[in-house]
Symmetry: C2
Subunit: 237 residues, 2 copies
Amino acid sequence: MIKVQVVLSPALLHLFDSKNKNVVVIDILRATSTICTAIAHGALSVKPVNNTDDALILKGSGYLSAAERDGHKLEGFDMGNSPFECMNGAVLGKKIALTTTNGTKCITAATIAGAANVLSGSFLNITALANFLKADSRDVILFCAGWRDRVNLEDSLFAGALVNRLVSKDELDCDSALMVMDLYHRAKSNLGLYLEQSSHYKRLSRLHHQEDMEYCLQSDVIDIVVGLKKGEMVNMA
Amino acid sequence: MIKVQVVLSPALLHLFDSKNKNVVVIDILRATSTICTAIAHGALSVKPVNNTDDALILKGSGYLSAAERDGHKLEGFDMGNSPFECMNGAVLGKKIALTTTNGTKCITAATIAGAANVLSGSFLNITALANFLKADSRDVILFCAGWRDRVNLEDSLFAGALVNRLVSKDELDCDSALMVMDLYHRAKSNLGLYLEQSSHYKRLSRLHHQEDMEYCLQSDVIDIVVGLKKGEMVNMA
């Protein structure tokens, strides 16, 4: 039986033992959805970097530079943090250096915490990811990126969807996992409608990212698993 | 309209501005339920203290000393952290110095954070508490004590029950508040059965505190509001 625990905020990661576990980083709107999309659309890798300077330095080494803060694409970079920027051949055969408000920092934090694998969580490839986790059989930490350390609805909801695919309720010994599983059951009939309440959904709506959000809430349009190898997110196959 | 926010763990309190707000400390199993019970049963006050030494020093000044760690009553103290120890005249006219694993620390933290009022949350007096908060009309922080900084089910659920009494869903701009409100709606038909899943319920069951838990999950058996005045929890009337 796989032990599954849920970390609802980066400020709580230190309470959990991530060593030698599969850690799934979850930033549904939009970093980890965009990373999965980039790799599915032929990018060689996405390197998470913690600041814009590092992204620009890597641009000098042939990477596409991608930077987002507070929902905005930053000036002077090749891309922001929208999955649609990864389509139509735009990233085919390219390496990307990405920095975002929440998600990319969590990939670094999970690495430092000693995870066996750091994986990118998204509804887009949830079945492929669940199958990978079940086959690998290591214990699992679902690590919600949240919003500036606050708990958010969309990452919690995805954690619930994934818990639901991995274990039954009576196998859980983590209250956060129980909570998000129940949230998911409450919301699953219409995730989009449910998430219209969330603070980040409202924030991105004001910034006209409606199309991004609708895309990110689709299940199983991607059939690969994306995880960290040598500091870059790649196809785990 | 009252703005209501929910802090799911003490490790997240610093992300919220508690200044001049009504902060409700929530440690349902059992500290804040026991504090309400003590005052309802005639204790003059309950002074939250952060360590056992302070409780023993106050014992020398005529306080009843009460100490609990990890669900156990500590040796050498007058009381542990069970609401039943406060009944049948045991605390009538007495002052109590209480230290517990989670709850009493949170009362101190809310005070340091600048709360206008630090109130004790419990199902036992939820209607009286909700009426106080609505009449006072300051913004509200519902502060879940959790378990050693981890999010727990019972405190989250109570936060949801109280949010539900204070505002409607479309008035919320806090994802944690939305989450706990939905949890509450899922669990409300049988709180006891729902909480049998929780890790602390299981922990206290192993320690034979079943009766305490059944007591703490009753609604509206107490009609007073308990909050901090001059460093001691007292009847706010």
